[in-house]
């Protein structure tokens, strides 16, 4: 792997992403719209809910608005990251193949995409975490930021994987919406989770670990090492699969 090529492609891929106007717009609009909707539609009523990852079983009592804000911050970072992951891998796929014919190794291009994705995830996560300060201050702010980064990693790498498998952008977006909407946007809602049947099923979904970390970081001062391992595991599996499929698809024959 050439550092010089990695450097050049990372810079040029970043420029291409930023010049795709919809990406920077969505990066600001999605968290803002989600928060606005939560603010307009939730009350300050205190609602108890179960924190699934804590043993022994533990209930937290916070306002419906605060718990929804945490849930939607995880969901918005997840949605955005998976979309950007998809865009990064699918944008100019044929041109990238020409680059590979001309000398790039598929891993160099994938690594550059991963670096750009990571930078965007950190930016979106920090921006979203700072925006939540307008409403309340999470108990462990840095850990809360980190939980959002993990949500971005898990779903960003899922976006890369979908982009490697599916050819069309529309089909890719449908795949993303299918999982992200059901998982990050619905089942991981702590209020839903407390009353859900088959909780074990929900625990195996990708957004479970970052959601749990975000909830604990927002409302408790406890450690969450177990969910950290789960998030990293999911990210590694998605990134690994994306790498293999991308390589097989793009290599010079």
């Amino acid at each position: 792997m050439s550092i010089s090529r990695l450097h050049t492609s990372t810079i040029l891929i970043s420029r291409m992403v930023i010049r795709r106007r919809m990406v920077p717009i969505l990066m600001f609009v999605i968290p803002s719209v989600f928060f606005l909707v939560v603010y307009l539609t939730t009350s300050e009523r205190v609602v108890p809910f179960e924190v699934a990852s804590l043993i022994p079983q533990r209930f937290i009592e916070v306002s419906e608005r605060f718990s929804s804000l945490v849930f939607f911050s995880v969901a918005s970072v997840g949605f955005l990251s998976s979309y950007i992951g998809l865009v990064l891998i699918q944008d100019s796929i044929d041109v990238n193949k020409r680059l590979i014919i001309c000398g790039y190794h598929p891993s160099e291009l994938l690594m550059s995409n991963l670096i750009v994705l990571l930078l965007i995830i950190v930016f979106v996560a920090v921006y979203t975490a700072l925006a939540i300060l307008l409403f309340f201050r999470p108990e462990q702010f840095v850990l809360f930021c980190f939980a959002l980064v993990l949500s971005g990693l898990v779903y960003g790498f899922y976006g890369l994987l979908v982009g490697s498998i599916v050819k069309g952008e529309l089909e890719g977006i449908l795949f993303i919406v299918l999982l992200a909407n059901i998982d990050a946007g619905w089942l991981q809602n702590p209020l839903f989770y407390s009353e859900a049947l088959n909780k074990d099923l929900i625990k195996y979904l990708p957004a479970y670990y970052p959601s749990q970390m975000a909830i604990v970081a927002a409302f408790e001062s406890l450690s969450v090492s177990k969910v950290l391992i789960g998030s990293v595991g999911y990210s590694a599996v998605f990134a690994g699969l994306a790498n293999v499929i991308y390589y097989l698809k793009m290599r010079k024959v």
């Binding site: 492609s9 795709r20 193949k97 020409r98």
Partner: protein
């Protein structure tokens, strides 16, 4: 010296056999053409020769560097002309500080008249200018063999004539060319012209 030799190259898509055992050889300093109807398998043959597509059977030997100019311009539309050059220069491992390389880069910029468009995004360029960029990228690393798939789609008459002259100069400098097209108006630039018909080169 032989630059490229392909033997018994076969390719099928599903039940449709596109190439039925193609034999092709290109020596240094020679210009060859392949003509054929639309859908005759010309682009498939080119993609196999450059490593874009895998042949079902056959052997392919390549000595030296290949420059590939695809039919559809494969350039980054959200990057400028200069940024596209930079990206492909890194792919070819060309050093920016190499004086000779810099001179050649300037020569390509002037030859294709990119000066005024250098910092324009490809998205905003005309089809002909994008096609010229597509071709210039194939030439950046001074290949031993230039493989061109319908290279002059969108060229105006002046650029087309300049392109043919360029091919002549390129050949005199020892470069080889394989040009694939559905329409050939002037055979005088070619050492040999094949016709791809029914999956076979005639």
């Amino acid at each position: 010296m032989m630059i490229l030799k392909g033997q018994n190259i076969r390719k099928a898509f599903g039940h449709r056999t596109v190439l039925k055992g193609i034999d092709i050889a290109i020596d240094a300093g020679c210009v060859k053409g392949v003509v054929g109807e639309n859908g005759s398998g010309k682009s498939t043959l080119v993609k196999i020769l450059v490593g874009f597509v895998k042949a079902d059977a056959g052997q392919l030997r390549v000595k030296g560097k290949i420059g590939y100019c695809p039919q559809e311009p494969l350039v980054f539309s959200r990057l400028s002309v200069a940024e596209n050059f930079k990206y492909y220069a890194s792919a070819y491992d060309l050093q920016a500080y190499d004086k000779e390389q810099s001179r050649y880069y300037k020569y390509l910029m002037e030859f294709f008249r990119f000066g005024q468009y250098k910092n324009d995004k490809v998205l905003h360029l005309s089809g002909g200018t994008v096609q010229k960029l597509n071709l210039a990228i194939a030439l950046m690393h001074r290949p031993d063999l230039l493989i061109l798939d319908e290279p002059y789609n969108g060229f105006d008459l002046e650029t087309y004539q300049a392109f043919l002259e360029f091919i002549d100069v390129y050949r005199k400098q020892g470069g080889s060319v394989l040009l694939v097209t559905h329409l050939l108006t002037d055979n005088s630039y070619f050492d040999e012209v094949y016709k791809l018909n029914n999956g076979v080169l005639e």
